[in-house]
């Protein structure tokens, strides 16, 4: 893959080179799809939303001024498109309402996770992530996986910087608590 900046491919696309846009799709398809699947919690719907997002971004590429990064712009589009689908389907948000703050030993939790097979471990983490609120999942994914600065995340989800910090703090403790609830019975069964 080329190391040229996104702006190069955006300009090429605007000049009518659709193949240049294919490069941008290839670069961002995984993150766009992941954000969507974590919000709508359905693979088929997420795939459809992600495709629509890239088509929508293509038709509106002229309006992309370059004030923010292309990644921030497209993540924002997928975030709102996925939320729209949830609203339209009137899906019940099945996130867990957890008020207790995790105070347990993280080392024990990490050890317990490491004993599990890779496939099972990933499945448990995914299931636990899906129990968080939509915005919490998006914030955690963008911050820890994409390593996006908090300021850019605040642009994506349209929340203040302080609000993002609070949500991030709460979300990671909530995730640890959910994981503990899921793993504890499993480790007891192993003994």
């Amino acid at each position: 893959m080329s190391n040229k900046p996104d702006e190069y491919y955006i300009n090429q696309t605007l000049n009518g080179n659709v193949n240049a846009y294919a490069f941008l799709i290839e670069k961002y398809k995984h993150m766009v799809f992941t954000l969507s699947i974590r919000i709508v919690k359905n693979r088929e719907e997420a795939e459809e939303i992600s495709q629509d997002v890239f088509v929508k971004a293509y038709t509106n590429l002229k309006s992309f001024k370059g004030d923010s990064k292309f990644s921030t712009w497209i993540y924002k589009i997928v975030y709102y498109a996925s939320l729209d689908v949830i609203k339209r389907n009137k899906k019940q948000i099945n996130s867990e309402n957890i008020d207790e703050i995790y105070e347990g030993d993280l080392g024990v939790l990490q050890d317990a996770l490491s004993y599990l097979e890779e496939k099972e471990r990933k499945s448990i983490i995914k299931k636990s992530l899906l129990k968080l609120n939509e915005d919490e999942q998006v914030i955690l994914t963008l911050y820890y996986f994409e390593e996006m600065p908090l300021k850019e995340i605040s642009e994506v989800v349209n929340l203040s910087l302080d609000n993002i910090k609070v949500k991030l703090f709460r979300a990671r403790k909530k995730l640890a608590t959910i994981l503990e609830h899921v793993i504890e019975p499993k480790t007891i069964n192993l003994k």
Binding site: F33, T34, A46, R121, L175
Partner: protein
């Protein structure tokens, strides 16, 4: 503070470990295909003027020709209309078929207002359709 750092590292480990979801293998091809269809739709709609450029050229030539003929011809009409007796038109005009129809002012005003609203509505419908 140490607990915060630990949970920060732990969250990073979790999110990195779980990685990203993979869309279908032909994802890019599907998107590009949709974009190509959209593009062809846009380029297929080519608006043609009702009167072509050649049409306008002939209209202009005929108009100019007519003007020249009229300018250089005698002041008397070229076509002798006086030969045709048009007096029957006067008889026709004398018959007023609307003589017995009387419309009230209220009806006239409401009819005019209704017509005006139809025209306004047409304008908005045209805007919506566009």
């Amino acid at each position: 503070m140490k607990q915060d750092k630990n949970i920060d590292d732990f969250s990073k480990y979790l999110l990195k470990d779980v990685g990203l979801e993979k869309p279908s293998s032909n994802f890019v091809a599907k998107v590009i295909n949709t974009i190509n269809i959209e593009n062809s739709k846009v380029s297929n709609v080519v608006y043609k003027p009702i009167i072509s450029k050649i049409g306008w050229f002939f209209i202009a030539i005929s108009f100019i020709g007519l003007m020249i003929v009229l300018y250089f011809s005698n002041t008397e009409s070229i076509i002798q209309f006086s030969v045709i007796d048009l007096s029957f038109f006067d008889k026709l005009m004398a018959i007023n078929i609307f003589e017995n129809i009387k419309l009230s002012k209220i009806f006239s005003f409401s009819f005019m207002l209704f017509s005006l609203l139809v025209l306004v509505q047409l304008h908005f419908i045209k805007k919506i359709l566009q």
